[in-house]
């Protein structure tokens, strides 16, 4: 059997290391989760999955996370573009500020956001004039998730935009494309895969977010109760298998969504040749 020769040595070592490391950090904890969920038996799992309240909370968690990812995709693209393509005073400071949602403990973020968006807060009071309820409503949850997911899109896009040479745009212009055509036919297709990648990261982060959301959501069953809170409640009742079951459902759903996004990106790459 002919062995494929690699240019660099150490393939076996690094593969072995990768598998061991991945098992320790990801696979073993995740299989424990599945094992815990199975201790309740099929009836327990079925009961949890078909529970109306669990379904309502999962729906809420996934729709708010999805909305937040869309918002982040759009504004993250704008921000990354502005930071990479233009130079203006204070650019470096703003660039550094993008990372703040990473650094801040999420509970602090939640408290800060609810102070702003509560009916007696600065923005909340203004919104209340138009009968818009932000804090203690799904809108508030989305705002918190936009906050925690924002850096993912910007940081994924920045190097791609930096690599995107201006010559492409110039060539398009020389060939008679107007500015709008250049943007939609040349620039945007090149940035789409990275935008999608950033959005999936932001989405993944948002689905499981607990710390900042519980402060701003109001936690009313069937209305503003997110799935991670339901997990906490199950733990509080010493119902470990119920908690793990909800966790596994979230995990599978997230995996399917991320996997689909990845397939879409691949298909797009093949189609456009980028």
């Amino acid at each position: 059997m002919a062995r494929t020769r690699h240019v660099l040595p150490g393939f076996r070592l690094s593969l072995g290391f990768t598998i061991t490391y991945l098992s320790l950090i990801v696979l073993i904890p995740l299989s424990m989760l599945v094992w815990k969920a199975s201790t309740g038996g099929w009836d327990g799992v079925l009961n949890t999955i078909t529970h109306a309240r669990v379904i309502a909370s999962l729906k809420l968690s996934f729709t708010t996370a999805f909305t937040a990812a869309l918002v982040n995709g759009f504004f993250g693209l704008l921000t990354a573009w502005a930071l990479e393509r233009y130079s203006f005073p204070g650019r470096r400071v703003i660039d550094a500020m993008v990372d703040l949602p990473f650094a801040l403990p999420t509970a602090v973020a939640g408290i800060a956001l609810v102070t702003l968006y509560a009916p007696n807060g600065w923005i909340g009071a203004w919104l209340a004039q138009y009968d818009i309820k932000a804090a203690y409503a799904p809108l508030g949850i989305t705002i918190a998730l936009v906050f925690v997911g924002f850096p993912f899109v910007v940081r994924t896009l920045q190097p791609v935009i930096a690599d995107l040479s201006m010559e492409l745009e110039e060539a398009a212009a020389c060939l008679g494309a107007n500015r709008w055509q250049t943007l939609t036919r040349v620039v945007f297709p090149a940035l789409l895969p990275a935008t999608l990648a950033g959005m999936t990261l932001a989405f993944g982060r948002a689905v499981g977010e607990y710390g900042s959301v519980v402060f701003i959501s109001g936690n009313l069953p069937f209305k503003t109760e997110i799935a991670p809170l339901l997990i906490t409640m199950r733990l509080e009742e010493y119902d470990y298998s119920g908690a793990a079951t909800i966790g596994v459902i979230m995990l599978i759903a997230s995996f399917l969504i991320l996997f689909t996004a990845d397939l879409l990106a691949q298909w797009n790459r093949k189609r456009t040749g980028h």
Binding site: I111, V114, A118, Y136, G218, L220, L229, M233, E236
Partner: protein
């Protein structure tokens, strides 16, 4: 091997070992921070004077149920001082770390102080809230944490239930009452402190169902903004304490842990308890602080609900009455 190991640890940790003869870890619930900060100082002084040994005490605070789970999962607590007997029962039953008869080992069913649930309203009390019936009126906003995640919230819920049951005489009516009450709750925070913030800082709600000691704390932190209302009936909350036998045996701290909890019942400690807005058991301390603790009608968890195990199962477990309140029709 063993000696060389202990020699090594003696070299490494020699400094801390010399600083104190004993180290205790007290795992407690959320609002007792101020109480135990003061009590621990007093006990260390007392123990040095009577037993001639130095003791240093570490504190851990959090939601009562969460703390119980931490001890079950291996947190090295010598003593637990939790919000309700049910949480200590769980440590005893699930992990076997505490003897089954723990509640009989200390006076007053191992509850050295008590507290109750009162109403906190805005300064002028614009909605004129005087008793439980006012909470179910349309347009009144009630702030209380989520009984699924907060020990204090369970006391709130049970007090309301007891009132409705006494007044209307049937469980069906009591369920109607409690459903109407929770319809008026705009935010279900996960813990008592978070609810305090929602009410006092965000300005949400007309009335806040609160631990008595927490209500006094709000008065102190936000002077002139709130008023305490004593309802016609409330519930006797008995936060309980216990030595975690297995942990203390392993660490050799059984004697000092016992002394620590027994000290809670002495006149000095009872005075600290009254000072921190908990109701003391000791008659002298109770008399000294009687102005802040008005007499009220109290139901008890054992007498009126058949103990924590039963109450938990019926009201708060998955599918219990609290879950049914939120079932869409």
């Amino acid at each position: 091997m063993k000696t060389s190991l202990s020699l090594l640890s003696a070299v490494l940790f020699g400094i801390t070992a010399q600083a104190a003869d004993f180290e205790l870890l007290n795992v407690s619930y959320d609002p007792t921070r101020e109480l135990y900060a003061e009590f621990n100082k007093a006990f260390a002084k007392h123990y040095k004077a009577t037993a001639g040994k130095k003791v240093s005490i570490d504190q851990s605070h959090g939601g009562s149920g969460k703390q119980a789970r931490a001890v079950i999962d291996g947190l090295d607590a010598d003593v637990v001082t939790l919000a309700l007997a049910g949480d200590i029962d769980v440590i005893s039953q699930q992990a076997g770390l505490i003897a089954k008869d723990w509640q009989k080992r200390l006076p007053n069913s191992s509850a050295p102080y008590t507290s109750t649930i009162v109403f906190v309203v805005r300064k002028e009390n614009p909605k004129n809230i005087q008793d439980w019936d006012d909470l179910v009126k349309p347009g009144v906003n009630v702030i209380t944490p989520n009984p699924k995640t907060s020990g204090g919230a369970r006391w709130n819920y049970l007090a309301a239930w007891a009132y409705a049951l006494k007044k209307h005489g049937s469980e069906a009516k009591a369920k109607e009452f409690i459903t109407a009450l929770y319809k008026n709750v705009p935010v279900l925070d996960t813990g008592a402190r978070a609810s305090t913030t929602t009410f006092a800082q965000r300005g949400i709600g007309d009335v806040f169902l609160s631990w008595e000691n927490e209500a006094w704390l709000i008065q102190r932190e936000f002077p002139g903004q709130t008023k305490i209302i004593i309802p016609s009936l409330s519930i006797l909350a008995e936060p309980t304490v216990a030595v975690v036998d297995k942990n203390a045996e392993k660490k050799g701290t059984t004697e000092v842990a016992k002394a620590y909890l027994e000290y809670l019942y002495t006149p000095e400690a009872q005075d600290i308890i009254g000072k921190n807005y908990y109701r003391p058991r000791d008659a002298a301390a109770a008399a000294k602080y009687s102005a802040r603790f008005p007499k009220l009608n109290l139901v008890t968890i054992d007498g009126d609900f058949g103990g924590w195990g039963k109450a938990q199962k019926k009201h708060f477990d998955d599918g219990g009455i609290f879950d049914q309140i939120y079932q869409p029709k």
